[in-house]
Amino acid sequence: MTSTLTPPAVSRPPEGGKRKRRRPFFGKNPLGLLFSAPYLVFVILVFAYPLVYSVWISFHDFFFAAPGAQVDRPFVGLENYITAFSDPAVIRSFGNVGIFLLINVPLTVVLSLLLASALNKVTHFRAFLRVSFYVPYLTASVAVVAVWLFLFNGNGIVNQVLGPLAPSPSWLVNEHWAMPSIALFVTWKQLGFYILLYLAALQAVPQELYESASTDGAGAVRSFFSVTVPGVRPATVLVLLVSTVTGANLFTEPYLLTGGGGPNGASASPVLIMYQDGLQQGHPDTAAAIGVVLVIVVLGIAWLQNRFAGGND
């Protein structure tokens, strides 16, 4: 009896060893596209379209007009950029926001990581403490600003505690202290959000690494720098990027806390100047020019952060 084994039919690869497969028009997972479509539409409408339109506005003599109004909007080249950056107030606002970022971003990263690590180890009152740090983030700035005005005015509690060490004029009306005060306020207010990001990242750091470090004789500080810090590096990059982007968009605090970017423009931010130029004074073209430069500067900073803090991730 002989048996014949018939090899299973194997589809032969096409010549050249590579198989040509037609990609479905909507990709491998068309349902995924459907789910992401609303956000994509949102991004296009709310971010991409205005951004592209802002660039267009910045090269034209433009103002907002009623529908149907006969308006000439000639191309003006770099004129809006020259007008905007010939204004010392605009240049100063970029310097101001630079000071803000230099204080706010490192402070945010360090404090939120330290507090998240501490909160991660807390067993009692964990929920209470997490909510406590998150509440300022949820509270409207308008409400919190009034409290800070009380705290930091000439007769406020901060100056009473400091006594003769209190600056004169007081914090928010002092040219040297206005921007650092705002940076401190924003750091405190936003901290809860970044703590949450770090808390999420900390859950992904394997416990075994801490145990190994402990076995090798590492103490708490050594574990923090050798396990925690590298373990949450992707989160750190995210915190750096988000805090830089939100910081560069600084508006509400100089508008409310220092009464419109005072004193003497020491706390005016580029977005505040854009608001004054574009919405109050009817020059959206120069405001757009400032905005475009701000986007480029922020992208540059973000690239540097990603390059130096992102590692190979």
Binding site: P67, V71, G282
Partner: protein, 426 residues
């Protein structure tokens, strides 16, 4: 938070841009068309009460031209909300909260109807407001706003605090700069209040209207800070006003720090620089009022001040402009102006105000001084660059006067030069 601000602004901007970019032909609605309309009025309690009664009085007799009254939507300021509504093409027919400082921009945007082009429009405005109406014309002499009401700025003082400080509360010495400073020093030295007077020391463009401008108007017998596209304030009168306020800040009689809340109501200051709207706000304060000071003192019946007016705009997006014009006339009639006086205490921009409503002023003597003052008020300069000019002035003011950096003469000269350039922009 800032991210939310930017997202919110982006949504507004996108909507405005999309609508302005995609819109087709011009609004062709004429002033002859009639039908239902929507109006916006201010959101303070008194003006809401006035707005509601005016709308129901109109609606009761015009079933086919019903008016829908709404409070102006919330925003950072009414002007920004109106500007966005113009760009989006959804402004209501009438807005009873149109700031004269913003009218030039709204006109440039194509958002306002030229009331002078309406048959009998200019004549109606001038018959109601008299010579005061001239300040509300644009450079071409046309009315893109209906002068409506003013809040002549005066000095309020707390009589009880004056008494405690040993000052005469019925005849306070506040008419000259020297007297004002001397009285302020006595008030602070007596410890009755932390500061004598607390105008907002902040950098918003409109704050100029409540420190420099009233005193400058008084010092110059009613000169605008910009006339014929040229600044007028870099002169001795302007320097004197700036010197006066700089002394107030330097001597700690006013504070460069913004006060959270109402400084006068809270007893932080013994005086305030306000309009008649304040009468209903300061019910719990035993107050008196005097005109703003001048260098050598000016009799009350000859003192000028800033108007702090709010006017009515008829917006080009309106489909039934005939009805809108009729409602505008109805709401500025003698009867409705009386209601405005009674419900808000604000002064209709009407000639012969005191004689027209003699019985009202007889019954409400506290408003008499405001009624008299209303005939001598100065408005912000007209044109599309008003806000930019006021901001340039404010920047120089906060730097030199509020924080005391540099001398006022150089600061005002530099601001004047900058404003002259701005004024020439189209």
């Amino acid at each position: 938070m800032q991210r939310r601000t930017v997202i919110g602004a982006s949504v507004l901007l996108t909507a405005a841009l999309a609508l302005s970019a995609c819109s087709g032909g011009a609004t062709t609605s004429s002033t002859a068309k009639h039908g239902p309309i929507t109006i916006w009025y201010s959101n303070n309690e008194q003006e809401v009460a006035w707005g509601k009664q005016m709308v129901s009085a109109w609606n009761a007799t015009h079933p086919k031209e019903q008016v829908k009254g709404q409070e102006i939507p919330a925003g950072k300021s009414s002007e920004e909300v109106i500007g966005a509504a113009i760009a989006a093409g959804n402004a209501p027919c009438l807005i009873y909260n149109t700031a004269p400082a913003a009218v030039g921009q709204f006109e440039k945007q194509g958002g306002l109807v030229d009331l002078s082009k309406i048959s009998g429009g200019a004549a109606y405005i001038e018959a109601r407001s008299g010579k005061v109406a001239d300040q509300y014309k644009n450079a071409a002499g046309d009315y893109f706003q209906m002068p409506w009401k003013s809040n002549p700025v005066v000095i309020f003082y707390n009589k009880d605090m004056f008494t405690k400080a040993g000052l005469d509360p019925e005849n306070p010495k506040l008419s000259t700069y020297a007297d004002f400073i001397d009285t302020s020093k006595k008030l602070v030295a007596a410890g009755v209040s932390k500061v004598a007077i607390q105008p907002a020391p902040t950098s918003e463009f409109f704050q100029t209207q409540f420190d420099f401008y009233p005193l400058y108007a008084a010092a110059t017998n009613g000169k605008q800070i910009v006339q014929d596209n040229k600044s007028t304030f870099a002169n001795q009168a302007g320097y004197d006003v700036a010197d006066f306020w700089q002394t107030m800040y330097k001597d700690k009689l006013s504070s460069p720090e913004q006060y959270t809340g109402d400084s006068f109501a809270a007893g932080n200051s013994a005086m305030a620089i306000v309009g008649p709207w304040a009468v209903s706000v300061y019910k719990d304060v035993n107050w008196g009022s005097v005109p703003v000071p001048t260098k050598n003192g000016t009799p009350a019946n000859k003192t000028w001040t800033f108007s702090d007016a709010k006017n009515i705009g008829l917006y080009s997006a309106c489909k039934a402009q005939g009805t809108a014009w009729d409602v505008l006339k109805f709401s500025t009639s003698k009867a409705q102006d009386q209601k405005l006086l009674e419900l808000t205490g604000q002064m209709p921009l009407r000639k012969d105000l005191q004689t027209t409503y003699a019985s009202y002023f007889e019954k409400n003597p506290t408003y008499k001084a405001f009624g008299d003052q209303a005939s001598r008020t100065v408005e912000v300069p007209p044109g599309p660059n008003t806000v930019e000019m006021l901001q340039a002035f404010r920047d120089a003011w906060t730097k030199t006067v509020v924080t005391g950096s540099g001398d006022v003469k150089s600061a005002l000269n530099a601001a004047a030069s900058k404003i002259d350039t701005i004024a020439k922009q189209k």
